[in-house]
């Protein structure tokens, strides 16, 4: 099956821009620009005209948003192919963090170097989970798989709690260089996390578009029966997809280690934001997840600017609920 045949099938699953309906696209872009302008104006007013706070919000939001994108990419890939909302995604991020912690503190490796362990480790773990647990319940009521991933998340978190205890741990990194971006400050570790996550997300995207295995994954997402008919081993694709989704989470876990405290529950917040990102981008849509991550990173920061007394997450949830109700197919889907 050639790649061009598949791209005709998967236009909806993988969110292609443009295509036949140009007019709604232009309208959508205008709406997005309008909302952005409105948000900036209100932010300008709330901060009492401090441009610096807004720049800082944008920079911080985009930097952390890239990590959200990577986690959500795994989540949305799993949803697109397996039609499972993986409640364990955050716990897999936590697993990545602890993998980095263990290697880095015992062998003295640079935390970023542990990516060569955390990615394969989580890939293998994801494959194992799919083979042993989730493949057995494929095709049953979707609540069953949801509960399975939920239980898996609890299992991972509490195993880590049992083994490492609940106290926050941290990995020693050298002195942090602080960068100045248009007046806003960004620490080195956050910039590296941004670049690393963006690079891995792009790599995955190219893999999905250009390689044989990527084509097979997209084929299964678009039409499992059709994929089976042309000779694709669907169960194997399920395994690979869950493994890739887990590997994304593991990589993200390693990348955030220098600036989060490592705790068994550290992943929970990532599960929540990843849900928001994929709903925002459209469940199962890869491009949507990449942009959605940045939008959620920004709404977190601007939520903090709009409601300074509230948790940053409030802004995220307001966006979440609005999108869920008004555009459950996601911002980037073609008009339903």
């Amino acid at each position: 099956m050639s790649s061009s045949q598949v791209s005709a099938l998967d236009a909806d699953t993988f969110g292609s821009f443009g295509g036949s309906d140009r007019a709604p696209l232009i309208r959508r872009i205008l709406i997005i620009i309008g909302i952005t302008a409105l948000v900036l104006v209100v932010a300008y007013w709330r901060t009492g005209g401090s441009g610096l706070l807004i720049t800082q919000g944008v920079v911080t939001g985009l930097l952390v948003g890239s990590v959200y994108s990577l986690i959500a990419l795994g989540l949305t890939l799993i949803f697109g192919v397996l039609h499972i909302l993986n409640f364990a995604q955050g716990a897999l991020v936590t697993m990545g963090m602890y993998a980095t912690y263990v290697i880095s503190s015992n062998l003295g490796w640079n935390p970023y170097l542990t990516l060569v362990v955390s990615i394969p480790l989580l890939f293998a773990f994801g494959a194992l989970v799919q083979i042993l647990i989730i493949n057995r319940s494929m095709g049953e009521a979707h609540e069953n798989q949801l509960l399975l991933t939920l239980a898996l998340g609890l299992l991972i978190e509490n195993t880590l709690l049992l083994v490492f205890g609940g106290n926050p741990l941290s990995v020693r990194t050298g002195t942090e260089t602080v960068y100045n971006i248009f007046g806003a400050v960004a620490t080195q570790s956050r910039v590296i996390a941004f670049l690393g996550a963006a690079f891995l997300a792009l790599l995955l995207f190219i893999m999905l578009q250009r390689t044989g295995i990527g084509t097979a994954i997209r084929a299964v997402a678009a039409n499992p029966t059709g994929a089976k008919l042309v000779g694709i081993n669907v169960k194997r694709i399920y395994i690979i997809t869950f493994a890739i989704g887990a590997a994304c989470a593991g990589a993200a876990g390693t990348l955030v280690v220098p600036f989060v405290s490592i705790q068994p529950v550290a992943g929970e917040v990532f599960t929540i934001t990843a849900f928001v990102v994929v709903v925002l981008g459209g469940l199962g849509k890869v491009v949507g997840a990449m942009f959605g991550g940045l939008i959620v990173g920004l709404s977190e920061q601007f939520g903090g600017i709009f409601f300074p007394d509230q948790s940053n997450l409030l802004g995220v949830f307001v966006v979440f609920i609005l999108i869920l109700f008004l555009r459950p197919q996601g911002l980037f889907a073609n008009a339903s």
Partner: protein, 343 residues
């Protein structure tokens, strides 16, 4: 969840509910003298069984019988807990009245979520996400609302003697068990009567095939909302009882995701969409916490490094859930019932 519950044969509806009501009566009669033979630590376990069972019964009405998967049942639990705590602490109003107000508010909140969700046609995963989002919103809002003591939560003021009106007894008092038994029995009674009623039968018809039900003229939206309201009200009862027993509530305890998960665990283990499943599940799960805690206080030789750690109980819950779903998807009670009725 894939398991059809008791799709009650209408002609046998009376005998089905009679059987369950008799079972309930026998259960109450057997359990009433329990505090006289239980020690204080067993009573604490029994109370936890009761709280998790009530919450599970609540979840089961909406998600088991109604097929609307809720991942935000902490919302109803928390609304009940906070309504009674705020009224008692700030205005000296009895938790019984707080319970009624909490039940009404929780039902109202459920109807609001349900109406919005069905109005915008959220189904399956999206519906679960919406319930989750609303529960988290409540947590975040309460967490940063000074009016509601923000993150500090509420301590229920201690009284010197015991009072049924203020729902407070000295710790270890058998009254707590009897109070819990009353609330649990009431919850079971509500779920039996609700499922027996026309509304409950319509609900099951809607769960099995919404399109068919609606083309037969059943007002689908109305009965789904009714189920959520009943479910929310029962969930609030669990929250009130929790607060009055532990005498403390805060946003994480009330509205946290782990509370929502707790609501799901017992019915899944016991049997989704069965009257007794949540109680069976809760009786299995709640004591596990104490057993594992006792084990970790003094672990045997090679595991000595685990001393004082926690997490083992939830690990076992998780394994149990995975095993149940893969091998016994009808739950303990559901499987036994099937075996018995086949003979």
């Amino acid at each position: 969840m894939s398991t059809p519950g008791p799709l009650v044969d209408v002609t046998k509806r009376r005998t089905w509910s009679d059987r369950n009501l008799i079972a309930l009566l026998i259960g109450i009669l057997i359990l009433t003298p329990f505090p006289l033979i239980m020690g204080a630590s067993q009573e604490a376990i029994a109370i936890r069984v009761i709280i998790i069972a009530i919450l599970g019964i609540s979840w089961n009405i909406m998600s088991g019988f109604g097929g609307m998967f809720s991942f935000g049942h902490a919302a109803y639990f928390g609304i009940g807990a906070y309504a009674s705590a705020v009224m008692l602490v700030n205005f000296d109003i009895s938790p019984w009245i707080g319970m009624i107000v909490g039940m009404a508010l929780a039902a109202l909140f459920g109807v609001l979520i349900g109406y919005l969700s069905f109005r915008y046609k959220l189904k399956g995963t999206y519906f679960a996400l919406a319930t989750f989002a609303f529960a988290e919103m409540l947590r975040i809002i309460v967490m940063s609302a000074p009016v509601l003591n923000a993150g500090r939560g509420y301590h229920i003021p201690l009284i010197t003697d015991s009072s049924w009106w203020l729902m407070q007894f000295p710790s270890g008092s058998p009254n707590y068990f009897w109070l819990g038994l009353i609330l649990l029995s009431a919850s079971v009674l509500i779920s039996i009567l609700f499922i027996r009623s026309r509304a409950g039968q319509f609900l099951i018809a809607i769960r099995e095939d919404e399109t068919a039900a609606s083309s037969l003229g059943i007002p689908v939206l109305r009965f789904k909302l009714l189920a959520i309201a009943v479910s929310g009200a029962v969930g609030a009862v669990a929250g009130v009882f929790y607060t009055q027993y532990y005498l403390f509530i805060d946003p994480d305890l009330a509205f946290g995701a782990s509370r929502s998960i707790e609501a799901i665990l017992a019915p899944v283990v016991g049997g989704v969409g069965t009257i007794w499943g949540p109680i069976v599940g809760s009786s299995v799960l709640a004591p596990l916490t104490d057993i594992t805690a006792a084990f970790l206080r003094n672990p045997p030789g090679p595991l000595a490094f685990l001393e004082g750690r926690s997490g083992l109980d939830v690990m076992l819950f998780a394994v149990l859930i995975i095993v149940m779903i893969l091998f016994l998807p009808k739950g303990i009670f559901g499987t036994i019932r099937e075996k018995v009725s086949r003979k």
